[in-house]
Symmetry: C2
Subunit: 534 residues, 2 copies
């Protein structure tokens, strides 16, 4: 790196990025590009001679970058920029003491803000680590649990190992099972329904475990879900607010998929019609990837007790809603996390940190290391044996790793706890306000109780005809989204097609929520009027 | 993001990073920090109130960041910065057409520069994808190969699947096997020796396969290594050039490990003494992680034919030396890559791209998707079925992904092919020059033929006493590194303790190579003088 060359060009790039954000409101809300569009704009091969940065920046249409994600912040960006500038590849303590230790410290900080049990702190046998995504977090703990179990029951027993989760669990768990060689038929996707607000019932878990034990299978892993409803919307969607005097929009492109179509229960597809509709939609804007959404907050304490008494690993996926637990009034929802072996929260979802930054805590770091180190004996040096250092390469899939703690550190320092709490509370207030608006309109119903910042609602089915209701809400969603002013997502819960309104963008204000609701009401009125004529 | 707030703070950060690079020469070459040092410099918990950026930047001692990595460039940094600024999480085409398509295009560009077979281009059934690291690259293709094989032979045959590689292969393959549930005893680490310059002999592969077939095992995966010697040095080391009038240094901290101690052949540890020494060293600077290093360039064509005739997946790991193949004169070394099912090269190693950017190409993208998609049926929308779009989430472990193609795109455009070729050729010239210096000093020998930019050499053992020679070279390494002026790494090949000199830092010049050699000669003279007195 030549320092002055870096300085000059990086200042140019800063202005390019700032101008880009400044002009965002002039962009069309929805990119209308077709597959292959970029291919037509870019030469077929790399240039032979160098180009200048100015030339490159001048050539970039903002339309190259079709979508604008939400949950970043200046603080997160600055941290990411610093990390890129330092370009440290700190896979073990010795390769970068700073990258390793800052990560330990910042994750201890965050654990304390979340009031996680002390066992999760780096000062004991556990500790935190930044993974890229929740998918990697659940994968590494699944592997640790798998190998721990196989050590107990024999390495040829892989085909007997059973994983448990509810049908509200993110499909990342299914992918982790595929990777780890868990047999698909041993992945128990336990049904939930509205009677428990789509949370996993301890009774149904206990029953499933007992059934499996009877036929000689080995339960070894339970994944509980905390706030999965939100996790879908903010995890895998891009929510953007595009404002001008005349135009505003939430751009919510949400990606979720019914576990009915996605999980082990392939043979029970209760809603072929919905499935077809969803499949159709994948060619439009809102591809569905992930899980059925609900307000599920699994009862951690009861589930944890069952897992513990069966010698199972207990993982809590709080990827999205975990952030809310920095507010004392929401911390109660993870009561029982004391029973967990591992806990995951994505700082890149609802915590103003640029992607990627998925915080994972474990109680026993040695189980991770046993699974993911290729040289456990060899690395037993004095520092490691005395538990003096952490080599994060043995806590994750890749060997190399970026200095990701910098951005979380920037967010924590530049915001401070009080502003972060204010950020969370504001979103929840806005969602509560929207919920109130829906409740006042008797044509609609709020389908599941709102806890955090997402509201599940729908037009009530005329004459209690659920089939008709599903078609109606599907049509309403299309009508709303085709305005180009607002984009909302949907899900399917207990066979009902449901609309979802999520608040997650840093710049969202009351007026945007009100205006969004007006669009929805207008479209509902028009739709119902058309129907009554037909 | 508030655009003006971003602009103001990002400009400050640019100056902080540029100043940091400018002042690098004033830093001590070696950080002398102790485990836990950062803990003492940072408060125990996150701040309650926000801090200002200026406050944070003022507080940062450069000593927070103990090491300075090498293979970044202004171009790579700018690309990473733009990616952070856009914060796009483009896991499927629809979530960011730009991120998806630019990645396809840039990897097509790079494939053409490397003259990879057309099957690897995105225009056919294959295509390229950016993984974080070579570890993830080899993992995803191993999983694809595993599941393809299990589909053929039955899902309960996992314990029969066998993986083949040489003892020069990176330990990432071992980790991938662990993750994928391949039985440790089915991971064949085939011995190499100096007779083939540590390349994998097709005969020994054929023999091993035939032996396994006889006992009912199922060979399914072969990993060939291309330029592993270099891959260690640049892959997992930080090479930094710190210059001032009085002081210069290559800072090479290399991480490699003997496969003898690391692989399946745990029972044959021919060098307990060396092992002990290495283990000791892990508490010092040069932790050993990875593989035995050699000049291994496996014979791709012959190996590929064997793999093909046995229905096996053939992966080529060219993580480091692959970069050299953009020069016509080095392209011959990957002749036979036409036989490969997958090929991996790390742009973050020797291609001026900031970490992380590991390019993987496959011939049949559907095998990856079959293994790594959780919803292959569901996502069969018109665009996907017509092969119109790529959803990269199904080519990798995580779901979310960063816009990493931007930095590779910046490097390719800001340098252009001719400068990139010049960069590679310059390093190889410098290494050749160093090789010449060593050859002229009769006390030393060059141990393996140099192909790329790494020289393996040692002090000749007095009286052909190899044991003594090993101790001597180990002592020499210590003496050289303890000058604080230069840091080199070592390896063990066929029981010989060997020193390694790698050229990989963008700023390296002839004078640095000469000066480094002077240090080595001085230390050798002093050491030999001491010995003759004793």
């Amino acid at each position: 790196m030549d320092a002055e060359q870096l300085r000059e060009n990086a200042h140019k790039m800063v202005d390019f990025i700032a101008d880009y954000y400044k002009s965002i409101e002039n962009f069309p809300v929805l990119s209308q590009v077709q597959p292959g569009y970029l291919h037509n704009l870019i030469p077929d091969s790399a240039p032979h001679h160098p180009e200048s940065l100015q030339n490159i920046l001048d050539g970039e249409s903002p339309n190259y970058f079709a979508y604008y994600p939400s949950n970043s912040s200046v603080a997160g960006f600055l941290g990411e920029m610093l990390s890129a500038g330092l370009n440290i590849v700190g896979f073990s303590w010795i390769t970068s003491p700073a990258a390793t230790e800052l990560e330990m410290i910042v994750l201890d900080w965050l654990a304390k803000l979340l009031k996680l049990p002390e066992d999760f702190l780096s000062t004991g046998q556990g500790g935190g680590v930044i993974q890229g995504t929740a998918s990697e977090a659940v994968l590494v703990v699944l592997l640790a649990a798998r190998d721990k179990a196989l050590k107990r029951v024999g390495k040829n027993s892989l085909e007997k190992l059973v994983v448990y989760a509810s049908d509200q669990t993110h499909s990342a768990l299914q992918k982790a099972c595929q990777i780890g060689g868990i047999h698909p038929q041993n992945f128990r996707v336990l049904k939930t329904d509205s009677s428990t607000n789509y949370s996993l019932s301890p009774d149904s878990l206990a029953e499933a475990i007992s059934r499996d034990l009877t036929i000689g299978l080995i339960p070894f892993f339970l994944c509980a879900t905390f706030g999965s409803l939100n996790s879908i919307v903010s995890a895998y969607c891009f929510i953007e607010l595009v404002m001008s005097d005349a135009l505003f929009a939430f751009m919510i492109i949400s990606f979720n998929l019914c576990t009915e179509e996605d999980g082990a229960s392939k043979n029970e597809q209760p809603h072929p019609e919905l499935e077809f509709q969803l499949a159709e939609e994948t060619s439009h804007l809102y591809v569905q990837v992930g899980t059925t959404s609900s307000t599920a907050v699994d009862p951690l304490l009861a589930l944890g007790n069952i897992a513990k008494s069966n010698g199972m690993w207990f993982h809590v996926d709080a990827a999205y809603a975990g952030s809310a637990c920095i507010c004392p009034e929401y911390r109660q929802y993870i009561d029982g996390v004391e029973e967990a072996d591992s806990f995951n929260m994505n700082a890149h979802k609802w915590f103003l940190t640029n992607f990627d930054c998925s915080a994972l805590w474990v109680k026993d770091r040695n189980t991770l290391i046993q699974s993911l180190s290729t040289n456990p004996e060899f690395l037993k040096n004095k520092a490691s044996q005395a538990n003096m250092v952490v080599d994060y390469k043995d806590w994750q899939i890749p060997l190399g790793r970026r200095f990701r703690s910098l951005k979380l550190w920037m967010v924590l320092r530049l915001y401070g706890l009080e502003n972060l709490q204010g950020y969370i509370r504001n979103h929840i207030q806005l969602a509560k306000h929207f919920e109130g608006l829906v409740a006042q309109d008797l044509r609609f119903e709020v389908v599941t109780p709102r806890i955090f910042s997402l509201v599940c609602f729908r037009l009530l089915p005329p004459h209690n005809d659920e089939d008709h209701g599903n078609k109606l809400n599907h049509k309403l969603l299309d009508d709303i989204n085709s305005t180009g002013k607002i984009f909302i997502s949907h899900t399917v819960l207990s066979g009902k097609y449901i609309l979802r309104f999520a608040v997650g963008a840093p710049l969202t204000e009351w007026r945007h929520v009100n205006a969004a609701w007006e669009v929805m009401q207008d479209k509902a009125s028009a739709l119902l009027a058309r129907l009554s004529i037909e």
